[in-house]
Symmetry: C2
Subunit: 482 residues, 2 copies
């Protein structure tokens, strides 16, 4: 039997090999295991707990905006995919098929859902009759499968966990309002809760969701300069309504097609979190999403162990009661130094050290995982100080990630300019684009960068297409992406 | 497009046709829809919310006892099933198989998990090395699929949602302690939270989980006298440890096989909830699990509408702040009488009526869904009174279900006695059993009843086998089951 931890003695520095750093970190921090099924991982407790925190927070925001959860079948009949032409073209290459069950060949193949627009479409056609049934606002937490060629733990796995919202509306205006509302919920959640700054914008047609009229995304920059799409929101127009015959009787007693939206975010957020905040010592987890926010480590010689432990437990209870997620590591067979390294590697935002001298002085030492700053505080101010420093760490992490993104963001006027930049540096590139698919494809071919999105608030408005030099229709963010 | 609600004008009385009553109720209360995939249903928001409440409460209890959540792959390679002989025999007839993915035939077929002992087994072999890694206590919330011939919404569906706990221990004693602990958590949860009395006991060998050494269950009686297995906990011995080579180095530096357990409960609890508490007017949901515990309905003539509504909203806020799940239905285009029927059908435990005369007297009317009792209370005592009556309703529902079970529980000495009983009545039957599979099979063939379990605390100890009249090895609860 293999001890996985043995395989990772050291973490490869990010500057040496970012991909290796990533794989080292997630193994050493015990976040996942490769499963025997191609491209599928096991989400071990330490990563699943991050997902639980993400779920809880997103779910709260969905419910506050009037959405309810439901659960739809895993299996989607093949004929459903045929109903929306773009949708099947986009997803067909990635579908696994159930062809036999209970010893018999099925009459119709069943796909494992890669996303559920078709199943929701079929059911919505049954449920929606009148404008009184609208808007219909449903979200689903589920597993989905996309049989990918190249996989990377958390970022792109054959099976992953996500939420998919599917809503139906009376008209375009209402559906577009929903699309934008959910995009804003993602932006706010990812920036506020995960401390990841994102670029909000619209996808170009070539990067649109298969079957969407318009796709919007939030894009985050990893520490290797590559992009991760951290959430998408789609206005689907009446495409799925027409395909599945989702009609309602409007206020004038006329049959109309509904306008639908869908929006999703997934366990790839865990991967983004790691690649945005991690450093050469390991994970760094923002306090708001961290399963453990504070670790308390009693220190000092054996003779003072008893009173120090008693005090530590007393202060632990105070923090716990204040709703802070805190743990004590009082193991005697491991040195404090080993523990410091261990919890730094695991990314616990704040460490508290308490020794005999601290006891005498009624104080304790707080050490931030992000800055390494040590702060000596009075025990009597414990809860208030810890709450404050956790808030500071959260802000600091966001600002640091934002600064990194700004330091790795350039603007170019030509394809040559982009190539030259990408030869030496990494990051996002702002450029003008005429709107033609050919020019976009040329950028990809020449540089490996793809359009991430057309940002709503670009730093500047570019006037000419970087490829053909025609007037720019849009200012686009390009980047290599995961 | 079909309006599902139109199809259910009336609910069939339970006494007329219990199965039809059940299907009428779940349709009319909008809990589910049949999906286009055989045996799969859509869990609509009103049933999914019940599941969310079940999840939250069970999850809390699992975590309090040291378990952590993780997520394992949906797909299980065919070869894994071959490793444990009993396991494959039990599950093979129900497995759906993925044979193609991304346009290619797979080298090895992948089953959709019906349960995950094999996948956990494979991973545990990789993760466990030393006694220091034990016990390993992991739970998973997931969808599973069993391709069943006969399905019934919530109770038996091809795909369902559940939790499955899988633990590994140093020795039999520790694993058996875990098995019993989880059985007790299920009992306590189902009785306390769902107000469903259960019989706790051990399954006979023929009803054991495929691959278990011992299976324990909690069994509930539905209002048609049939049994629903509401939770199971298995001691698996070293069977899966041997099959997957899960060994650890013990304190004496010797390799030992671990002892494992597994335990599960599922969305069938929603079905049990409905069939234990529902009545001819519809659902009755216990306050602790009810998504909406209280509905407030303002009444009276249009001229007093404004002040009554203002008061209702004021009191609503008080209840909300006290953590009570409350809704106001202030629609003007629907009569109070219609609303009363509607919320009774949906099983909301408590209704509050407030009209102009109540305003004058500073009072309001509380109506219990279970007893129909009306109670006039002072507005100033609102929160306290509501909390108290909800607690009373919860207790009343448990006691009522318990009384029903006692009224439909008999004890027999012979197979003829059982037959005669079941010809006229329904329910559970206590009988002695010699321990032979043949006698157990004969009971099933002659009466349609199967052994539910060997209760830990039978009302009496039977001395002779009901079939062969040999001395009884066990006192068994028999019953027809879902």
């Amino acid at each position: 039997m293999a001890d996985e931890k043995q395989f990772v003695k050291e973490i490869t520095p990010q500057s040496e090999d970012f991909s290796k750093w990533y794989l080292d970190v997630i193994k050493k921090a015990d976040l996942m295991s490769y499963s025997p099924v191609r491209g599928c991982i096991v989400f071990k407790p330490d990563s699943y707990e991050i997902w639980e925190n993400i779920q809880r927070e997103l779910d709260k925001r969905f419910k506050e905006t009037g959405h309810r959860n439901a659960y739809f079948p895993l299996f989607i009949p093949e004929s459903f995919f045929q109903k929306e032409k773009d949708h099947i073209e986009g997803f067909n290459p990635e579908l696994p098929w159930v062809t036999e069950a209970a010893g018999e060949k099925l009459e119709e193949r069943l796909a494992i859902r890669p996303t559920s627009e078709t199943m929701f479409g079929h059911m919505y056609a049954e449920w929606i009759n009148s404008y009184r049934d609208l808007p219909l606002l449903i979200n689903q937490w589920a597993n989905v499968v996309r049989w990918e060629k190249r996989t990377l733990p958390f970022i792109r796995t054959s099976e992953f966990l996500w939420q998919e919202g599917h809503t139906a509306h009376e008209d375009e205006a209402d559906a577009r309002k929903e699309t934008m509302q959910m995009l804003e919920i993602y932006r706010d959640f990812v920036e506020d809760f995960l401390a990841i700054p994102v670029i909000v914008g619209q996808k170009t047609p070539s990067e649109r969701f298969a079957g969407a009229v318009d796709t919007y995304s939030i894009e985050a920059m990893m520490k290797d300069g590559k992009a991760v799409q951290a959430g998408t929101s789609h206005y689907l127009g009446t495409k799925f309504a027409v395909a599945f015959d989702i009609k309602y009787l409007d206020r004038e007693n006329t049959h109309q097609f509904v306008h639908t939206t869908s929006w999703g975010s997934s366990t790839r957020l865990i991967g983004a979190l790691i690649m945005v905040h991690g450093d050469d010592r390991g994970l760094v987890i923002p306090p708001k999403v961290a399963p453990t926010q504070v670790v308390m480590i009693p220190i000092g010689p054996p003779k003072s162990r008893e009173p120090v432990l008693a005090k530590t437990n007393e202060l632990y209870t105070l923090l716990k009661q204040a709703g802070i997620r805190v743990k004590v590591d009082d193991r005697a067979d491991v040195t404090p130094g080993w523990k410091f390294n261990e919890y730094e590697m695991r990314g616990i935002p704040l460490r508290i050290e308490l020794g005999p001298r601290d006891m005498e002085n009624g104080q304790m030492v707080l050490v931030s995982r992000v800055s390494g700053e040590k702060r000596i505080i009075k025990q009597e101010n414990l809860v208030q100080e810890v709450e404050q420093i956790l808030a500071e760490i959260q802000t600091e992490m966001f600002e640091k990630a934002k600064q990194f993104r700004e330091d790795n963001f350039t603007s170019v006027d030509s394809l040559d300019g982009m190539k030259q930049y990408l030869e030496k540096k990494r990051g996002f590139i702002l450029a003008g684009w005429c709107g033609s698919a050919a020019c976009e494809a040329e950028v990809k071919e020449e540089t490996g960068a793809t359009s991430r999105n057309i940002p709503f608030s670009p730093a500047e408005h570019k006037t000419h297409c970087l490829v053909c030099e025609e007037p720019a229709l849009h200012t686009v963010v390009f980047g290599r992406s995961y």
